[in-house]
């Protein structure tokens, strides 16, 4: 959701920072270190991200229990040294399930974002760059999607195509399309007549070349910010779908489903079943959102010197 707002951000011209002649070069890396140092929250975000990545890669290998193995004798146990996050209705170790779920949720986020980035990003850039009917068509499509209550649209798509990971990814990508299209469009439109684009024209670049060599690379940073913000949204979306029963198939561990399953146990006092997956969910989304800001700081040329 939060990403929606990005679309219209640059309304007012920012003031150029004091310019000294021939600014010395700054490597991205040193810049990164600087950004983190001046903004600990971003540092935290990067750390979390690393953690999530590790969990996603090695998770299933390092978990103490088989995330699918039930043990009805040990059902509904509170967190303990044996089961850090406790056990669920079937006595499955929640810690193991939470960790194991990382890979799935993470890939849902990554793939859906990648998909929408390609579709929406490209459509938007073309709309912004070529204008005319391309712009109109893309605009219409975006409007139409926006006119839907997005979550319900996602539900509809998943319900219609059947609840599988692929469809969840697809649905998430589709409802994010307008967002990406708009941002990309705005950015491309601003740069469309920039001096360096004109210059490239004079250098005999075809429109398509311009698009790929001049416009796209310069829009990447903004899109990168978009992506990390949307990743969080993607996960939430998937979780929401699971909650109303349109998620991945049991017994596959997935945060949203686990929360949904645990939901009915909160009132009866077995809070941990929903709590820990919910926590993991929150931490992940939290991380992606902060990461968005971090990436913005990283790529913002104004903060370069």
């Amino acid at each position: 959701m939060n990403d929606m707002s990005q679309a219209k951000t640059p309304e007012v011209e920012p003031v150029p920072a004091l310019r000294f002649e021939a600014p010395p070069s700054t490597s991205l890396w040193s810049h990164a270190r600087h950004v983190v140092s001046e903004n600990p929250v971003t540092g935290l975000a990067f750390a979390l991200f690393a953690l999530i990545l590790l969990a996603a890669i090695f998770g299933p290998a390092i978990v103490p229990y088989d995330p699918l193995a039930s043990d009805t004798a040990a059902a509904l146990q509170a967190p303990s040294a044996k089961h850090w996050f406790g056990t669920d209705q079937l006595g499955r170790d929640i810690f193991s399930r939470v960790i194991a779920a990382t890979r799935l949720d993470f890939s849902i986020a990554v793939f859906s974002v990648a998909l929408v980035f390609v579709l929406g990003g490209l459509a938007g850039v073309m709309a912004g760059f070529f204008g005319g009917w391309v712009d109109k068509v893309v605009g219409r499509i975006a409007d139409t999607i926006m006119a839907f209550p997005l979550f319900v649209l996602a539900m509809g798509i998943v319900a219609a195509l059947g609840n599988s990971v692929t469809n969840i990814i697809l649905a998430t990508a589709i409802i994010n399309f307008p967002l990406y299209a708009r941002v990309a469009r705005a950015e491309a439109n601003v740069r469309r007549d920039a001096g360096f684009v004109q210059a490239a024209r004079l250098s005999g670049n075809s429109d398509w070349r311009l698009l790929l060599t001049q416009i796209l690379p310069n829009i990447m940073p903004i899109m990168a910010v978009q992506m990390s913000l949307t990743m969080g949204y993607a996960i939430l979306n998937a979780a929401g779908l699971s909650f109303i029963g349109l998620g991945v198939r049991p017994p596959t561990p997935e945060w949203g489903i686990m929360v949904a399953e645990g939901a009915s146990f909160i009132v009866s006092g077995e809070w941990w079943i929903a709590f820990f997956p919910g926590l993991a969910l929150m931490v992940a989304v939290f991380c992606f959102n902060l990461l968005g800001d971090g990436v913005r700081d990283l790529v913002d040329p104004q903060r370069r010197n």
Binding site: M1, V12, V15, N39, D143, T144, V152, A160, G240, V283
Partner: protein, 337 residues
């Protein structure tokens, strides 16, 4: 201005048509045989066939679409099979509930987010800035249904501060005569403060849930545009001519910063209106969100189509409103029209 509105309306026509078509197709590819579902247990094939015929589901798609559209033109959104009522009456009965909930949630969010965003921008890089960033982000990072459940558990079940999540009114309170459908308003009109309190008490938790979720985008946007504006030349001029801080930030910076924020607000609102599906589910809120979900699960076409259509129209109206609002704040837009 009027010309602008007219133009905007025209541009929205295609997307509304798009919505109608997409919804129709989407609902038709929904798996599950509505007829079989409503033939009830132990239904014989003939029985199912009868119902299918009764619902007109045995006719070819184009034909169904035509009859759907013609009905639509007559203002008939069809019958809901799950509630057994006409979709119009269902929606008109439930829309106010969702609207009230979303509106209050949004207001709540704004009351917190706007000052927070401004503060963060004015004190950029300070701990306030970081704090507001964390708080806002944390808010949006929580799945709404999770937040809802936790709130219910803590404030109702553990602490018992808030009333039972039984929908819009306490069981023994009676609904005020319906004017706007927004209970908070109707009760006041009816001078029925007892019911008002009840309605309000019921509203707090779900509204809070929504507010927490919509905190981030608004804060984010406010902060961003505030920062941009604070850096603008005219703010420097204002400072240089000795205007007081309140004047500079309030009148000069804030109003300019509002432009993008207004747009965001619109998006947040329409988003919430669709997204409070989950909240309504948790709080047994008789809104259109939960209505649509039930229908979807039962692959009950009419309500879904009706719901989406209504939402689309509201979305259009909302954007129109925003454009107008925009015009009010920003003289340049008026000229654009």
């Amino acid at each position: 201005m009027l010309r602008m509105i007219g133009a905007r309306l025209l541009t929205t026509v295609p997307s509304v048509i798009g919505v109608i078509i997409v919804t129709f197709l989407l609902t038709r590819v929904l798996p599950g045989d509505t007829a079989a579902y409503f033939a009830g247990p132990a239904a014989t094939p003939q029985a199912i066939a009868e119902i299918r015929n009764k619902l007109g589901l045995d006719r070819p798609l184009p034909q169904q679409f035509v009859s759907y559209v013609t009905a639509l033109v007559k203002g008939d959104l069809g019958q809901s099979l799950t509630t057994g009522q006409s979709v119009i009456s269902d929606i008109s009965a439930r829309l106010p509930a969702s609207a009230e909930l979303t509106l209050v949630g949004l207001l709540l969010a704004m009351a917190v987010a706007l000052p927070l965003g401004v503060l963060a921008a004015v004190k950029q890089g300070s701990w306030v800035d970081h704090l507001c960033r964390i708080v806002a982000t944390a808010g949006v990072s929580l799945p709404v249904f999770f937040t809802g459940l936790l709130l219910v558990y803590v404030f109702y079940f553990i602490l018992g501060w808030s009333p039972a999540p039984l929908g819009r009114l306490d069981v023994f309170a009676s609904e005020p005569p319906r004017i706007t459908g927004l209970l908070l308003i109707d009760t006041l009109v009816a001078r029925d403060f007892e019911t008002f309190r009840s309605a309000f008490a019921q509203l707090i938790l779900p509204a809070l849930t929504l507010a927490i979720f919509s905190l981030a985008p608004i804060t984010r946007m406010t902060r961003a545009s505030m920062l941009a504006v604070l850096g603008a030349d005219f703010v420097r001029t204002a400072r240089a001519s000795g205007l007081s801080n309140t004047k500079v930030i309030g009148t000069y910076a804030f109003r300019n910063a509002m432009l993008p924020v207004v747009t965001t607000l619109g998006m947040v609102f329409s988003f919430l209106l669709g997204a409070n599906v989950l909240v309504e589910k948790v709080f047994a809120w008789p809104g259109i969100g939960s209505y649509a979900v039930e229908a979807l699960i039962a692959s009950d076409y009419a309500p879904i189509q009706g719901f989406v259509l209504i939402m689309a129209i509201m979305y259009v109206a909302l954007n129109l409103l925003i454009d107008v609002l925009y015009g009010v704040i920003d003289p340049r837009v008026r000229l654009e029209g």
